[in-house]
């Protein structure tokens, strides 16, 4: 963004206008915006503004906790954290965009996999390469502690855009109560789709008050998990070149870092590939056979409530369910988790979260220090009290952490990352998500997976062309 917003375009000018002249001038003002904070006078002291997707109580706590650290770096600096939580990713994006439009973009932002490539492609957030390289010695312990799959998911076109602090892998949660009632033993970590189906059929014999399986229509953890296990995807999987600057320095000896390059390159859509049609037809089949009800759309709050009240045998959830189910009143021990079953492959999905710096920030150095602070181990539980997400740091994944909330096999969350692929979130993620919602519900109500997926294929091709 060029030009300055403040003095040249003041309220008198805007009010004087009428008719079309007004519209055009108004647009000119929107065009000429910067993050200089034109509305009020900015002085030399920097107050970093951060917008993040999480708990407001945590925001205030971190803000207080980090003030002394910030003052140590720069006496005049301050940090102001606004949390947007509970609501959709949509509300969050709306707020960010409005602030950018008004020339008051935040300095720091938390973006999950869903929005990362969109923001990177639009150059809203900046590559952290130079900062990471500069501080590699102090960051080595961070990289040692974080699975390379997560780091790779934060890269785009060879650059690293965020430091990740959390993730959620799509694992299979099951009710131990219902399992024992149906005479089933706990699934092993090598269980297959056949095992899953058999278990589901046994669970169905428990009567109509419960469902063997249930799910929610969304990109993370819906029929997409089955798609991944079927060795498929909605978009062609590829990798950007580059990234050696990171892998060689931070993950030199890590076998899990082999083959990782410059971030996921999402290619041509494969929505109506054989693997996709099979996967979608499978969940439709589950519904026909009464093994699962028709899914809800959206947040998954209902799904969690139903699972917590013991009405569902198995469903797809992530680390965030540990805290979620606990908050919903489900007793520790009445549920457990296992890796997603193996179909044609053991590929499974995950999404990650982290912190990035806005390109227009005037305090990038300070912002970088805050980012590093936010990924420290001790910050995690300040930001996410109660196991409401999975820590990216292996050192934080301990039995102690999951003692109160469960599940017993919490190590599955981390183990599943080997061989996993992030959810397909290209720069046109929003259009993809909308199409996924529409076409999936269409398939569920019509029973015709192929027609719906053909439609989705053309939606995605259009979106890809427009992006």
């Amino acid at each position: 963004m060029t030009g300055s917003f403040g003095p040249t375009m003041d309220r008198r000018t805007l009010l004087k206008l009428g008719g079309t002249g007004l519209a055009l001038t108004g647009l000119a003002s929107l065009a000429a915006c910067s993050s200089s904070g034109g509305g009020g006078g900015t002085n030399a002291s920097a107050t970093l503004k951060m917008l993040y997707f999480g708990d407001q109580k945590a925001a205030t706590t971190i803000q207080k906790a980090l003030q002394p650290q910030i003052k140590k770096i720069d006496k005049n600096a301050g940090l102001e954290i606004t949390a947007i939580n509970g609501t959709d990713w949509n509300d969050f994006i709306a707020k960010v965009l409005t602030q950018i439009a008004a020339g008051s973009a935040p300095d720091l932002v938390s973006v999950a996999t869903e929005g990362l490539q969109q923001m990177a492609a639009k150059q809203m957030i900046m590559p952290l390469d130079s900062y990471v390289t500069k501080d590699m010695s102090s960051l080595k312990s961070y990289f040692d502690d974080v699975h390379p799959a997560l780091v790779e998911s934060m890269m785009y076109q060879g650059h690293l855009y965020e430091l990740t602090d959390s993730f959620n892998a799509g694992s299979m949660f099951y009710s131990t109560d219902l399992y024992s009632q149906a005479g089933l033993t706990a699934p092993s970590d090598k269980w297959t789709m056949d095992d899953f189906h058999n278990n589901a059929e046994k669970l169905a014999t428990l009567g109509s008050k419960t469902n063997a399986f249930d799910w929610v229509v969304r990109l993370w953890g819906s029929w997409t998990s089955f798609l991944y296990a079927n060795d498929g995807n909605l978009l062609t999987e590829g990798k950007y070149s580059g990234g050696d600057w990171l892998w060689n320095k931070a993950y030199a000896d890590n076998p899990q870092a082999k083959g990782r390059r410059g971030g996921w390159k999402w290619g041509d859509p494969t929505a109506n590939s054989k693997a996709a049609i099979e996967a979608l037809e499978y969940v439709i089949e589950l519904q026909r056979a009464n093994l699962s009800p028709s899914p809800d759309v959206g947040g998954g709050g209902t799904l969690q409530g139903l699972f917590a009240s013991g009405r569902i045998g198995m469903t797809i959830g992530g680390g965030f369910w540990a805290g979620g189910l606990h908050n919903a009143g489900m007793k520790d021990g009445s549920f457990d988790v296992q890796k997603f079953p193996i179909w044609k492959s053991d590929k499974s999905l995950f999404g990650a979260g982290g912190y990035g710096i806005f390109n227009t920030s005037k305090n990038k150095d300070l912002a970088w220090e805050v980012v590093k602070m936010l990924v420290k181990p001790e910050t995690f539980d300040l930001v996410y009290p109660g196991n409401v997400t999975t820590p990216a740091r292996k050192s934080l994944m301990t039995a102690d952490r999951y003692k109160t909330t469960g599940p017993d096999h919490w190590s599955v969350f981390w183990d599943q990352l080997d061989g996993s692929v992030p959810i397909s979130a290209p720069p046109y993620y929003q259009a993809l998500a909308t199409s996924l919602n529409q076409r999936t519900t269409q398939a569920i109500s019509s029973g015709n997976a192929k027609a719906a997926l053909d439609g989705m294929q053309s939606d995605l091709e259009k979106a890809q062309a427009n992006s």
């Binding site: 963004m1 009010l15 647009l27 009800p293 139903l306 919602n437």
Partner: protein
């Protein structure tokens, strides 16, 4: 208008025309005009700055392509030509109109029915009790309503299907089937919005002058006659208002379908505003989104205009 009113109107117009011819009449008219402008001054000021100007800016945007990050680029009428060949967006307008008609008809009919019934109650405390109860749904935010209605209408575990099953009826796939999803949306919105029309009509009915009602009952008019020949015409300005506002709001329906079904199943509950929101805030095409907003504005204007035209025949002002 009835003949009585016509005569009255003609008579008062004749009076004011005669008055206008008198000396000093023009000064009086100017004084009245000044008074008028002063009275509307505050309202006009606030609405202009904070609503009208933003609307003009947004509408101007429809001739541009803008993704918020980079400066807008002028594209002329391209957004509009794209709009008229965009099947998805156009079908969202169809959805909007279908839902709006259902919502408004139910809302006005039920609101009027309940207001009349409550007003006829003899005892003050029953009146107050009913008034409060029917107003309650309006007090919950649309987001909260979407959340708990989502639970109640759940096809498998929801309360509504449970009770339907108890009385022997089959479960309805409320939010799963496209048609029933639309019906559910109408029901959820009407559940709250009836409170709105209800409150309007109650206040209006209370203002009906009692001597007119007494005269009617002396003349031997029964309750139905009184209702249709006297009460309804006397509150017809409020009915017009309620219908116009209900229609404008219904055509901008966003919260409930967005939260409950995200516009699904398929696109069965994707309204025009949802389509606009997705285009703007999700696909970052604010210019195109503004073009959609213009089309919506035009349609609402036409619908409202039609309502006002019909009102000339049906609405009775004193």
């Amino acid at each position: 208008m009835s003949t009585a009113t016509e005569t009255r109107v003609t008579a008062s117009r004749a009076k004011s025309l005669r008055a206008a011819r008198r000396p000093g009449a023009r000064r009086a008219a100017r004084r009245e005009a000044v008074f008028g402008y002063l009275m509307i001054g505050l309202a006009v000021a606030f609405v202009s700055v904070f609503t009208l100007i933003p609307i003009l800016v947004s509408l101007g945007l429809s001739f541009f392509s803008w993704d918020v990050i980079t400066p807008p680029q002028f594209v002329g009428f391209k957004n509009f030509t794209r709009l008229f060949s965009d099947g998805q967006v156009l079908s969202s307008f169809g959805v909007t109109i279908v839902l709006a008609i259902g919502i408004v008809v139910l809302q006005i009919a039920l609101g009027l029915l309940l207001a009349v019934l409550v007003n006829n109650r003899k005892h003050k405390w029953t009146k107050a009790l009913f008034r409060t109860t029917f107003y309650l749904p309006l007090l919950a935010s649309t987001a909260a309503v979407s959340i708990f209605m989502g639970y109640l209408f759940d096809a498998k575990f929801g309360l509504i299907n449970y009770y339907l099953n108890e009385i022997g009826l089959p479960s309805v796939p409320w939010l799963v089937n496209p048609t029933t999803a639309q019906i559910t949306m109408v029901l959820v919105v009407v559940w709250q919005q009836v409170g709105f029309t209800f409150v309007l009509f109650v206040a209006s009915l209370t203002s009906v002058p009692t001597d007119v009602l007494e005269a009617a009952s002396i003349d031997g008019a029964g309750p139905w006659r009184t209702l249709f020949r006297i009460k309804v015409p006397l509150i017809s300005p409020t009915i017009l208002f309620a219908t116009v506002v209900a229609m404008i709001n219904a055509m901008q329906l966003f919260d409930q379908p967005f939260i409950m079904t995200k516009g699904g199943p398929g696109t069965a509950t994707t309204t025009a505003t949802i389509s606009m929101y997705q285009t703007g805030f999700q696909n970052l095409q604010f210019g195109y989104a503004s073009a959609i907003a213009i089309l919506l504005l035009v349609i609402i204007l036409i619908v409202t205009g039609v309502q006002f035209l019909a009102a000339r025949k049906l609405v009775f002002y004193q």
